[in-house]
Each structure stands twice: as C-alpha cells, then as structure tokens.
Point group: C2
Chain length 155, copies 2
C-alpha cells in the first residue's frame, strides 16, 4: 500500500473542502473555523473557552484568536464564568437568527461533497478515519520502531 499517497490525498481533500466551505460562507462574512465555533455553540449552548478548544481538539491560542475576531464581528460575546479566569462564550442574538440559514447552506455543501458516496460508504469512511492514529502519546516519540503490540489500548 502506498501510504504516502494516502496521506497526500487526505491533505489535499481537506484543503479543498476547507476552500469550498470558505466560499459558501463568504456571503455570511464567516470563515471556516468561525463556522465550527458557531456550530458547536448552537448545538451545545454556551461554553467556556477551554471547553471549546478541548472539544475541537485545537490549541487554546488558536481558539482565543478566532473568538476575538468573532466578538469583533458580532457573532459572540464573552461573559465572566465561575472564576475570574474563566470566560463563557455565548452567541449573540443576530448569530442565533442567522444560524439556521447558514446551517442549511453548509449542509447543502456537505451533501454535494459526499454526493458520490452511499450512506454505507460514508459510514465506512467515518470508521476508517477514526481508526487512524488512535495509538497516542506513549513511548515518547524518537524510537521509531514500535515493536509492542498495542491492541489492548484501542477501544
């Protein structure tokens, strides 16, 4: 199996998908990563910043910056949390109003992108992707030969 081709394809696809997502979001003055945050806040309600970046599996500074932009453009606001450290992120009223139509647009795009995949194939793809890289942070890098069988670590 040509593994490097597989990773090449993975990268290319994600780049193209992000590009198209940005295109359909442009009329709403939104960018892909901002959409992601809009989405989870809509689905899950207000969250602290830490909850957001942990959920999205990105780093904290990345999230901070995106939130600053979204606050400046009126999508979210940040109110004090339980601590003086914590900040809770909540959607503005206009964000909540705009959400349904944006969601429809994104769903349309996603349907177009998976157009050629049957429902079963989509499930397959999901599962195969989830099987990638689940052996995390063990013998800290460097020794490239992972001789140990780590099957028992995978759920």
């Amino acid at each position: 199996m040509d593994t490097s081709r597989l990773f090449h394809t993975l990268n290319q696809k994600v780049r193209l998908l992000t590009k198209e997502l940005n295109e359909v979001l442009q009329p709403f003055q939104l960018f892909s990563s901002q959409w992601t945050i809009l989405y989870i806040l809509s689905e899950k309600g207000p969250m602290s910043q830490t909850e957001i970046w942990k959920y999205l599996e990105v780093e904290a500074p990345t999230t901070t910056r995106t939130l600053v932009r979204m606050e400046a453009s009126g999508w979210i606001y940040r109110k004090p949390g339980r601590d003086k450290r914590e900040r809770i992120v909540e959607l503005t009223e206009t964000a909540k109003e705009k959400y349904p139509s944006i969601k429809k647009t994104v769903e349309n795009l996603e349907q177009r992108l998976v157009y050629q995949l049957s429902d079963q194939e989509q499930h397959q793809l999901q599962q195969l992707l989830e099987k990638l890289e689940e052996n995390r942070k063990d013998s800290d890098s460097n020794d490239n030969q992972q001789a140990t069988n780590m099957d028992e670590k995978f759920s």
Copy 2:
C-alpha cells in the same frame, strides 16, 4: 448519516497527522509542507515552480513562500528555466544526502498512523477519499444539485 461529524473527523485527523509529522521532522529542521516538496523533488526530479504547485494542488503564492524558506535553509536552489519567467527548483546536494534517512523517519510515522488499518482498509480509505468532491467547478457553484454522473473523469 451525520455528515458534519464526518467532516469534523476529517479535519481533526489531518490536523493531528500534520502535528505529528512536524514533530518527527523537527530533528531535521524541516516542516511538513517543506517535506512534501522535498519528497516530490526527490521522486520526480527538478521541476518548475508551477509544476510543483499544480502537482500539490496548492496556490502559487503558498509554494513561493515555502520555496523561499527552503532556499534560505539550504534545501533547494532555483535556477533559470526555458523562459526568463520560469524558475526550475532543484535539490541541493545536502538535501539529497539527507533525504533517505528523513524518508525512513516519515515512513515509520506513516506506518504507525495506519497501524490499525489492514492493507485492504487502507485501499478502501484511499478510494473513499478520492470519491469526495470530484464533482468540480461545473455549473459555477450555487446550484447544489449536481445531476450529472461524472464517473468517467476518474482514472
């Protein structure tokens, strides 16, 4: 099928893979996108800049910048092409010397990442990924229903 979850997973996986790639490349003072260029120049020989970005399916300015960095750090040099416009990119001697050991390192990483996938599953994943979004640039965006079957375009 939860399509948004599928795209979420796709994005997360690619981010994690890139992160790990950067980690194993760090000892060589290389970054992921630089590795990609090093790889194709090693496999395919000298290429013009346009050939590079078309092959990688990224935009020209992205490639320009990465090449500038790689030239500064001694991985490549750029010599005149057939035109006074064109520039041909070629690996330096030190790059060629270092390549085999870097390649081994990356291959080890890739094997670790696909560890849980059988050969057949890797093929499946490759094919499913390729089925994503192959309906390109037709009736210029907006009308989301792509009725035409375009199977014959895929090799």
